[in-house]
């Protein structure tokens, strides 16, 4: 399960999608918009995506994690649109019987999302200027 949304991420609703009676551990990663990037002050971000491909690539990553580790559930959601400092840009959640697999799979999913999901961001600086954030080549 992987989705994009232009609304604030409802973490309670996403957590409810992955909790499982057999899972003794839930690991969550929340990516938050911070006020600096490479030493430069940031006032806000805007995310855009190739939405259909992004959902497909995200679903592939989640499926790979489910196949590689013994998980009960895994999911992720990425924000689109304008975000301010402190807003949540991405949420990844994994439920597993034991914590080790939940941590490892959660780390895998967010790392893969960064290079395989077609999302771009522009950052606003406090002086009003706007710049595209340098990314990494999109991988299959």
């Amino acid at each position: 399960m992987f989705d994009l949304t232009d609304q604030p991420i409802d973490t309670a609703a996403w957590r409810a999608r992955i909790v499982h009676p057999a899972a003794g551990g839930v690991t969550v990663f929340e990516g938050i918009v911070r006020d600096h990037h490479k030493g430069v002050a940031v006032a806000g971000l805007e995310y855009t995506a190739h939405a259909v491909l992004a959902r497909k690539q995200g679903a592939r990553i989640v499926a790979e994690a489910m196949a590689r580790w013994n998980l009960r559930a895994a999911a992720g959601v990425h924000r689109l649109g304008r975000l301010g400092i402190g807003d949540m840009a991405v949420w990844i959640g994994v439920a597993a019987d034991h914590r080790g697999e939940a941590f490892d799979a959660c780390r895998f999913i967010i790392d893969q999302v960064k290079s395989r999901v077609p999302v771009w961001k522009r950052e606003w600086r406090p002086d009003g200027s706007v710049a595209w954030v340098e990314g990494v080549p999109l991988e299959a």
């Binding site: 395989r116 077609p118 771009w120 990494v136």
Partner: protein, 81 residues
Amino acid sequence: MSFTVHWYGPLRDRRGCDQEMVESTAASPEALWRELAARHGLPGDRRALALAVAIGDDLAAWDAPLPAGAAVAFLPPVAGG
């Protein structure tokens, strides 16, 4: 043949639009990129921009066949998360 070309991320600014209809005889995304790059003053070697390409709803190889009417998306380096 006509294609719908979609520009993403910083490429949108360099091209000046999100999408456009293009008439071309290009047989592959590689050939279509070279043609459009020459037309719009972009680097002819897509490696210089570290691009990926999608045909329709999925990623494609640069030498993949281009069906008539295909939607082709040029995808610069990504910065999600």
